[in-house]
């Protein structure tokens, strides 16, 4: 939902970033306001996943130029956990498995880390169990998942639902969904999209990074950005995604004088 008077949540200016000395991001500009849903689309290697990791503060990615402001504050020097407790959430393309740590314990530790950063007391085990049961409904997950090791032996769809469960629990201001739709069957996609739609509200914002227009049938974006060669080359509404779906990336990239890497 676009509202010109909303607070700017994320402001990225001329962002350059490298990994292992290779420049991947070559001047990204993006502004996201409260209440908005953005989609970033692009081919493999366009830099979309790198962009999400740089926002979350992954140590392998070095920001070499530009700025990232979150709710008016420069976060480029913040540790990943400080970005998270400030309200940035990254749903991983490939959620990691943590053997030996139950999902319930993991969620409680993460939740209490957020509480602590707000100067609040940790929530006790029983209150937390009540809270998490509520949140399970958002992604239609069975409570049995809570007592399994984090993501261990989960199917692809279960892992992605588990990411949205974490989002539901941590209530971030900015959610970055990195290819959350990839590899999902249609039922799982509907469940995940339903969860995201349920969590979106006028005070938070969502940035979806995706390869496929299909996701946008279920989560309708306010803006669609096309990323190529480490930059956002054009921005439009939902119709831009539809054009990409029917024409492919070549024409749009040619219009913006970006060579198609094969």
């Amino acid at each position: 939902m676009i509202n010109e008077n909303s607070e700017v949540i994320l402001s990225v200016r001329d962002l350059h970033a490298t990994v292992d000395g290779t420049e991947i991001l070559k001047g990204v500009n993006l502004e996201v306001k409260a209440g908005e849903i953005h989609a970033i689309m692009g081919l493999n290697g366009s830099g979309k996943s790198t962009f999400s990791k740089v926002l979350a503060g992954h140590p392998d990615y070095e920001m070499t130029h530009g700025e990232i402001q979150f709710k008016g504050t420069d976060i480029s020097e913040l540790e990943p956990h400080d970005r998270a407790t400030a309200g940035i959430f990254l749903a991983f393309q490939y959620p990691l498995e943590i053997p030996g740590v139950s999902n319930r314990d993991f969620l409680r530790v993460a939740f209490n880390a957020h509480r602590k950063s707000q100067g609040e007391d940790e929530m006790d085990v029983f209150d937390f169990d009540d809270l998490i049961e509520e949140k399970l409904d958002v992604v239609k997950m069975d409570a049995a998942f809570l007592d399994r090791s984090v993501n261990e032996g989960f199917s692809g769809g279960e892992k992605k639902r588990n990411e949205i469960l974490q989002m539901a629990l941590l209530e971030p201001t900015l959610s970055i969904l990195d290819e959350t739709d990839s590899g999902l069957d249609i039922d799982a996609l509907k469940t995940v999209a339903g969860g995201v739609n349920q969590l979106a509200n006028p005070d938070n914002a969502v940035v979806m990074i995706t390869h496929y227009q299909r996701l946008l049938n279920y989560i309708v974006p306010d803006y669609v950005h096309v990323m190529a060669d480490g930059r956002i080359i054009t921005t439009g509404g939902k119709e831009l995604a539809e054009r990409l779906e029917s024409e492919g990336y070549e024409d749009i990239m040619a219009e913006h004088k970006v060579e198609v890497a094969v």
């Binding site: 540790e79 991983f92 943590i98 053997p99 740590v101 530790v109």
Partner: protein, 447 residues
Amino acid sequence: MAIQVSNSETSTQPTKREQREAYLKSLLSTAQAHVPDALAFSDLRAKAEAIVNEHTFPSNRDEDWRFTDLSPMISVPFQAAESPSEIDMGALGPVQMPEAIARIVLVNGQYNETLSDIDQLPPGVVVGNLANLKDGALGDQLTARLAMSNGGHEVFTALNTAGFQDAAVVYVLRNQVVEQPIQVVYLSVARAEPIIANPRCMVIAESGSAVTVVEDFFGAHDRDHFNNSVTEVWADDNAQVTHVRLQREGAGTFHIGKTAITQGRDSRYTLVPVTLGACLSRHNLEVYQNGPQTDTNLYGLTAIAQSQLADTHSLIAMNHPHGTADQLHKAIIDDSAHAVFNGRVWVPRNAQLTNARQLNRNLLLSGKARVDTKPELDIVADNVKCAHGATVSQLDANEVFYLQSRGIDAEAAQRLLIYGFAMDIIDRIPVPSLRGSLTNTVTGRSR
């Protein structure tokens, strides 16, 4: 080219081998000097003395001690303690276990009545010390089993047999089921001179009985100390023994421990050996399946840091058909610590239709940490299942980042990952208070 070596020089400079021989003899004579008259066992002791005298103190040239260098011990003149140490209950503080139905305490290998608590036992189970029990109703059974486990020819086992000053005894009579754990504490207490202790323990679960035993090796001090322990366990036919062995000795302790288990047919034995302490430790763990369809489970955890060395040498001898063995040994190694694992599984021709699994997993927390791991499967039987493996890994930076991205700081993220690594061993410990304290110890150790 002629090199002349004068005779006088060779005779005044003892070779390293002679040094090691002399050192072993000095350990033997100090241990023997303080054997109480009540536990003379002259035949047994004489045999053990003969075995020790056939050996020299081990060096890295012995295959069994390739990775574990005992030479730092040779400069320390360990003495066996003559008199018992005066000590009060406070010394037990951190090892008190509320779940225990009985506790027997050896201090530097000698029975301590004040610290022990053996009066609340249900019928059918006896907990005490050998010196008191050997003239009672169980005397003959205890004497018949003492030092009769296989593997008694190993030099440190024989040294203990020659010099032990008393033994803790847990004896469960036929078909008795003891619900609550029995605790055996070995307290190492520093004296003016460096001490060698030879603590000993006998756990006997008669046919059809069930018992849980928790051994706790504990010493709070960092002074030079040598603990040379031997525990013999018998799980008779169809008996069930659950055993926790917790080694949390002080930082100056050299710990060499033998656990020898003899299993009767259809018996079930589970051991959780946890190694946290000592500057240098060696656990010789030997299981002898002495009847068909025995079940052996070994779930070990080593967590060491600084310059600690912890060596686990295990042997599972599957001598009969239909036996099963499941072994998982995990090590968390920080700083410049060094873990050694050597896991031997012996499956002779008559051990058909057996099933054995062994896995050694190591987590290195520092670039200087080291592990040497060696599975040793010795299979002659032709109709068996036998699997083994070893892994060495570090904390995964992507896993740490995943946790950080959920608001968990890097240090807590590492703690959580270490917890995850250790938990499937700690969860096997059937004593809640011990699970709790171990979880804190193991995860608190990360930086």
